[in-house]
Symmetry: C2
Subunit: 235 residues, 2 copies
DNA sequence: ACAGGCGAAACTTTATACAATCTTCGCTCA
DNA sequence: TGAGCGAAGATTGTATAAAGTTTCGCCTGT
């Protein structure tokens, strides 16, 4: 049954079958295809990716460590359902880290990187124009990741990857109204500031961008869990 | 019934055997008993903790995700050996995050927490007086973790736990001279500022504390890897 | 004597089998 | 009719065995 699909010559990242699973699930979460609370059965995923449960389990544990999957003992893995308190923490952390990341990105700005950013902006615009919500939400997160890669700080990048993935779940759970064009203009403004090497402006725009995203959320205080149920059913 | 959704999903240091292994290895790294580059064989660890390789492997993968263990494909797990560039990133991140953490800790300061901090300070002093280097280095890291717990921000806490563990390896690798009494006075100063609820002073002292720790390191620029080897062998 | 290559041993990686646990469905009884 | 109980089914947790890779000693040829 196990087709020998893996000779040995592959890219260093994609060659790892665990990484393929992890990135597949992550992408699904980033594109809002996987909803919070969805059960991620080991056999199910294993069948999809043609892998044994050992590898699936490894991938799920990594995702749990990143905070986008909850593993409940003897019950299985589920897409995380961040609480409003989690959401506030995530965005506070982003407001702290990302202005600094932009700072470093400006230091590391090269023509190649600026071109990369520009191409990303056009990609975002195109996805929005054709109304591709999935691509839009994915690219919106990827923008921030791109700036973090540009900064060259691997630790900030690692932290931010985690924060972005959680943000995606948070936005899906708590956005007030559908806001497809939430931040494309903001992104363009940030890129403009980077191009001008204006750190103060870049920091300020990044900060207001994040503040605005959070302001679009409805983060009620869930003192009791049944409030959520009432909210879902009552309308 | 909905309140019962996560009965034990968040019990990091429970009777979980994987957690026991992970925390045992982490403690060994924090106390400088495990040196960078040490091989962590699966059989070896499994024998020590009376666990099968499956569980050991899970623990090692978690540690790898935290950046204090490197897993090399088909070769095994090794205690990480942070580069000087890593070290600079770690301390920059700490200088960014920890002042904010102290800020929140002041907001959350209660008599119970202040007492806890005070007890920690005396513990640190006692360990130093009796010349217990292992306990000293462990408690020094635990102080920062304690402040982060006090802040109540789980995300900052998670990030900082990772940064502290890596810092321990960095200090072991790059400290100029043995500095056992590196920061006990600083810690006392920070606690004093917290007690006075003086955020500006607390932030400033935390920042200078971290800056001083990094200043005690010798972070040469290793453009090539053989430089390190030459340094070790050539005296 | 030394460089190069073969081969066995040790280890990691992956898959599979078994055990423990939870969930679900049906049955009984008040 | 509804609650309580119990067994069957399904799913996860753990251990063990098979497969693949690297490493290191040893042997041969020059």
């Amino acid at each position: 049954m196990a087709a020998k699909t893996r000779p040995k010559s592959d890219t260093p990242d994609a060659s790892d079958r665990v990484s393929r699973i992890r990135e597949g699930v992550t992408a699904a979460i980033l594109e809002h295809r996987l909803l919070p609370g969805t059960k991620l059965g080991e056999d199910e995923i294993g069948e999809i990716y043609g892998a044994s449960r050992t590898l699936v389990r490894t991938a799920l544990q990594q995702l749990a460590h990143e905070g986008i999957v909850n593993i409940e003992k003897n019950r299985g893995a589920f897409v995380a359902r961040p609480t409003p308190a989690d959401a506030r923490e995530v965005f506070e952390a982003r407001r702290l880290i990302e202005p600094t990341i932009v700072d470093h990105a400006i230091d590391a700005a090269s023509p190649a990187w600026l071109d990369r950013l520009q191409r990303h902006l056009t990609e975002e615009r195109e996805a929005e124009l054709r109304g591709d919500a999935r691509a839009s939400v994915r690219l919106s997160g990827e923008f921030h990741r791109l700036v973090a890669e540009m900064s060259g700080h691997s630790i900030y990048l690692g932290f931010l990857k985690e924060l972005i993935a959680r943000s995606s779940l948070i936005i899906l759970l708590y956005r007030r109204h559908d806001t497809p064009a939430c931040g494309t203009d903001h992104h363009a403004g940030i890129v403009g500031a980077i191009r001008k090497r204006d750190k103060a402006a870049a920091r300020a725009q990044m900060l207001s961008h994040l503040t605005e995203i959070e302001a679009e959320l409805f983060l009620k205080d869930p003192s009791a869990d049944e409030l959520r149920l009432a909210d879902v059913l009552g309308v």
